[in-house]
C-alpha cells in the first residue's frame, strides 16, 4: 500500500483559498494564503486530499471586517475550516471531488469539479463551490442592520510544486 500511496513530496505554500461575500452595498473577497494540505498520490494523480485553513488567516484587507468574521464564525472555539476528500474521480482535466467540509463545527458532504493542469514542474488544482452560511449555522454578518447574502463562493488554487 505504501508504494501505491506515495508520501507527498510537494511544496504547497503558494496555495490559496478565497471567499467572496456579498452585501446589498458592496461585495468583497477574503483570501487565505496559509493553506495546510495533506495529500496522497498515485503517480501524477491525486488520490486523496485534506485541506485546512484557519478562519483567522483570511484577509479581506479590512481588520475590523475580518474580526467580525471571527465573531460570526466563532473562530476562538472553532478555529479551522477543513475539507477531506472521500472520492476523487478523474475525467480528462476535470476532477469530480466529493468530500466532507467542516465549517463552523458543522460537517456536510459536498461535491465539486476541480481542474488540474501542470505548469513548470507544478500541479495546479483549481475550483470553486458555493456555501450557504445558514446551513452551517452561521449567523450572517450585517452592516447598517442589513445582513450579508447567505450564499458565499469559495475558490481555491492548490499549487503542488516539486520539492
Amino acid at each position: 500500500m505504501s508504494v501505491f500511496f506515495q508520501a507527498p513530496t510537494y511544496d504547497v505554500t503558494s496555495s490559496s483559498i478565497t471567499y467572496t461575500m456579498k452585501h446589498k452595498l458592496h461585495a468583497w473577497d477574503g483570501t487565505s494564503k496559509q493553506v495546510n494540505v495533506a495529500s496522497k498520490w498515485n503517480g501524477d494523480k491525486l488520490e486523496q486530499i485534506s485541506v485546512l485553513a484557519k478562519v483567522s488567516s483570511f484577509n479581506s484587507g479590512l481588520s475590523s471586517r475580518d474580526s467580525h468574521m471571527i465573531e460570526v464564525l466563532d473562530a476562538l472555539t472553532l478555529p479551522n475550516i477543513t475539507f477531506s476528500s472521500t472520492s476523487i474521480k478523474y475525467s480528462g482535466a476535470d476532477i469530480l471531488t466529493t468530500g466532507k467540509l467542516q465549517f463552523h463545527g458543522v460537517t456536510k458532504e459536498i461535491q465539486f469539479v476541480a481542474k488540474a493542469k501542470k505548469e513548470n514542474n507544478q500541479w495546479l488544482y483549481e475550483g470553486e463551490f458555493p456555501v450557504l452560511l445558514e446551513s452551517y449555522n452561521v449567523k450572517r454578518p450585517s452592516l447598517l442592520f442589513v445582513k450579508a447574502d447567505d450564499l458565499i463562493k469559495i475558490k481555491f488554487v492548490l499549487v503542488f510544486k516539486d520539492k
Binding site: N36, L52, S63
Partner: protein
C-alpha cells in the same frame, strides 16, 4: 441449483464485505490525513492576545495595563476574549444607531438653524434644545466608537474605509467642538453666526461621509 445459488450468495456477500472494507480504509486514510493537519492547528493563539495597535482610548480601558485589566476573574482566555468581542459588537451596533440618530438630528437642526438665521427667533429655544439632543447623541455615539474593545486584528497597512472613518471622525469632532464654542459666543458677537453655521455644515458633511465610507 441450490449449490449454485448458495455460491452466488457467498460470492455477493464476500464482494460487499470487500467493498465495505475498502470504503472504510479510504475513509480512515482520509481522516488520518486530516488528523495530521488538525493536530498541528488546534488552537489559534493569535486571536487571544490583544492586537498590537489600538486607539489610545481603547488601550486605556482594554489594554494589558488598562483600567479594565482585571475585568474577568476566570483564567479561560478564550471565554474572556469571546466576552470582549461580544461587548465590542454591542457597542459598535450602538455606535451605528447613534450615528443615524445624530445625522437625523443634525438635518433637523440645519432646517431650524436656517430659519433662525433668517430672523425667525420663535425657534431659538427649539434650536437650543435640538442642539443639546444632537450633542448628547453625538457623545453617546463617540463613546461607543472610541471605547469599544479592540478588534481581533490590527493588520491593515493600506488606507481602508475604517481608517477614512477615523480621519473623518477627527474632522467632525473638531467641527462639533467649534460649533458649540461659537454657539456660546453668538449672543455677545452676532458676526460669528456664519462661522457657527460653517462649522455645523462641516460637522454634518464629515459625519455623513464617515457613515457612507464605513464597511463592516
Amino acid at each position: 441449483m441450490y449449490k449454485r445459488t448458495s455460491f452466488y450468495k457467498t460470492y455477493l456477500l464476500g464482494f460487499l464485505v470487500a467493498c465495505l472494507f475498502c470504503a472504510q480504509r479510504v475513509a480512515a486514510q482520509s481522516d488520518s490525513l486530516l488528523q495530521q493537519l488538525i493536530s498541528a492547528n488546534n488552537v489559534d493563539s493569535s486571536l487571544i492576545q490583544p492586537p498590537a495597535k489600538m486607539l489610545f482610548t481603547q488601550r486605556a480601558l482594554w489594554g494589558t495595563s488598562g483600567l479594565l485589566k482585571n475585568r474577568y476573574s476566570g483564567n479561560d482566555l478564550i471565554a474572556n476574549k469571546q466576552k470582549d468581542l461580544k461587548i465590542r459588537r454591542t457597542m459598535l451596533q450602538l455606535h451605528q444607531i447613534g450615528g443615524f440618530v445624530t445625522i437625523g438630528g443634525m438635518l433637523a437642526q440645519g432646517i431650524i438653524g436656517s430659519q433662525l438665521y433668517k430672523g425667525d427667533y420663535k425657534v431659538k429655544d427649539l434650536h437650543e434644545n435640538v442642539g443639546m439632543a444632537v450633542n448628547l447623541t453625538y457623545g453617546f455615539t463617540a463613546l461607543n466608537g472610541l471605547f469599544a474593545p479592540p478588534s481581533a486584528f490590527s493588520r491593515d497597512k493600506k488606507i481602508t474605509s475604517i481608517r477614512l472613518h477615523k480621519w473623518l471622525a477627527v474632522l467632525h469632532l473638531s467641527g462639533m467642538i467649534a460649533t458649540n464654542i461659537l454657539a456660546t459666543q453668538i449672543e455677545h458677537n452676532a458676526s460669528l453666526k456664519p462661522y457657527h453655521r460653517a462649522a455645523a455644515y462641516v460637522s454634518f458633511a464629515s459625519l455623513a461621509t464617515a457613515l457612507v465610507v464605513i464597511k463592516f
